[in-house]
Symmetry: C2
Subunit: 365 residues, 2 copies
Amino acid sequence: MKFSCTQENLNRGLAIVSHIANKNANLPILGNVLLEAGKAGIRLSATNLEIGISCLVRGKIDEVGKITIPARLFADYINLLPNEKIDFIVKDQELEVACQKSHTKIKGLAADEFPVIPKVDSKKTYQLTTKDVKKAISSTAFAVAFDESRPEISGVYTIFKEEKATLVATDSYRLAEAKADLIGDKKGEESVIVPVRTYQEIIRILEEENESIEVNLNENQIQFTLGDIELVSRVIDGQYPDYTQIIPAEHRTKAVINIADFTKAIKTAALFCKSGINDIDLKLDKEKATITTSNTQVGENESEIEINLEGEPNQIVFNYRYLLDGLANIDSEEVELRLVDSVNPGLLLPAGQEGYFYIIMPIKQ
Amino acid sequence: MKFSCTQENLNRGLAIVSHIANKNANLPILGNVLLEAGKAGIRLSATNLEIGISCLVRGKIDEVGKITIPARLFADYINLLPNEKIDFIVKDQELEVACQKSHTKIKGLAADEFPVIPKVDSKKTYQLTTKDVKKAISSTAFAVAFDESRPEISGVYTIFKEEKATLVATDSYRLAEAKADLIGDKKGEESVIVPVRTYQEIIRILEEENESIEVNLNENQIQFTLGDIELVSRVIDGQYPDYTQIIPAEHRTKAVINIADFTKAIKTAALFCKSGINDIDLKLDKEKATITTSNTQVGENESEIEINLEGEPNQIVFNYRYLLDGLANIDSEEVELRLVDSVNPGLLLPAGQEGYFYIIMPIKQ
């Protein structure tokens, strides 16, 4: 095995794949990156058995072959080299690297011990813009449950249907739903629960230069293709709860509130919450919202902010953390808050926009 | 007690002092900030019993008085208020705060339980520019020992003599010395061991607008005055080791090396060190330095860099961490490395500059 490539190209490839490689006492090879020199270039791959990621790097191949090399060390080392041509040669399971006046030998492990990353070869293919995917993931994934006892809500429920991909996440206290447009040929209806870590990796590797992302599905895996990068992940087994039934169908109060003012008032109120108790009281009147907390330990706080109210005055108690999470993910200047009463969930929407909503369960007094 | 001030002024004052206040189970009042409304304005003070810091905030005093308030809560709360006038009034050991439409009550503790921060009223006064102080502290403090068994080297030895303040720090494996010019009237000779935490606080509160810093000394305390801020700290008891005897008086090799190249080559070599062993081998020849490591576990590395050598070729083994620390703190493009042999300490200087040096003990092979 003998090849050469530029430091810049290899460095980018290693930054993308090496993140997934991690030390594993039972299976040390999972800490390695697989290097395959073939006709098309040098393919770098890493896997943690849940997610596999690979990236093709351009280079000059003098002799095809493959080897695995400690990922962290290799990525750190290549990152420190100057942006010049690097020559590689494998001898006796050892990778020799030469770049200008730096000479290095790194011990590897045989490539045939590296776990096979499955390829999803299905006809269920969808295409989305990277911009839409990024927005849909980041405005939902934060709401998943980190509760191992309910694996089905530890992922993001992803539905491909008609012209849209719909992403849903909940931890049963709050729920976020975002829609993204499908582009290109739309294929039949399909739904899948994607581990949150997988979507976090997608966000990490999304690059400006890739305009679209392709999604392939089968029963057990989901594959994302972004230019020369492929990411394959297992999907979560199980039945996602029927979340549509908790979406409040009507409301008695609709308040439009400036998000920056609302956020500041909630953060101020939160300072006065008793440790471990995150309740804040929200009162909606004709032209103002009043946010209060009282904590006999440290003091009390009351803030008023201007709002635009339609319908009846109302009152509700929320966990301020869920409220702040929702506001932080509404990409708009104003939020529309819809309430029925103090026992039904509240609905938050970006004012005047479609494609996103966030539901919070109230705290019953 | 009744006063008002702007959010901006109070926020700046709290950012400066509240950092020192910390929860303390035995003495809860140490988590509070002392507010004293007097003729000159509102004085904010906090202490951890080792360091006391106070800052005067301008405001309108309607009724003098004092109270202590939980520092973290108060600082966070004021930080979230809009930049407007804030009104304060104390009733029954409770601070009532009103700012626009936000109304808050915070429970306090009686001011007379707050520890007295001593005032250093000595005639031993020195003046330095903030720029010089910042540079001298940051290029030495990193080298102190974090070893409680030798308290005298856990601080920065500070000598005022003739026209200079000299700061020295060592952990017995390496040593840094920086000099700063005294301005204004010079006073007699004096030396003191200042806790590293004290200097870290000084760096934190140095502001662009203060041009000079005043230092007052007595036997047990050191006081720094920066405009309207005063910081008083205990000093460390003990005899600082006579460090001048380890400064190599002569050398056989003098190499001038580009710091960026040298740093990259050391970091590359360091990747190949065996875990827990930080030795790298440095060989200085006529026109090049060769940096090598070998680690039979993962591989080996050899890098060459260009240097400018005067005197004999030489070879030495250093702990790469100490070498990187020194290079990171030399404010110059090139470093001058002076060696005697492989058993005597190496000396690093910013090439062509005075006022700073760094010594590293070699690792004997």
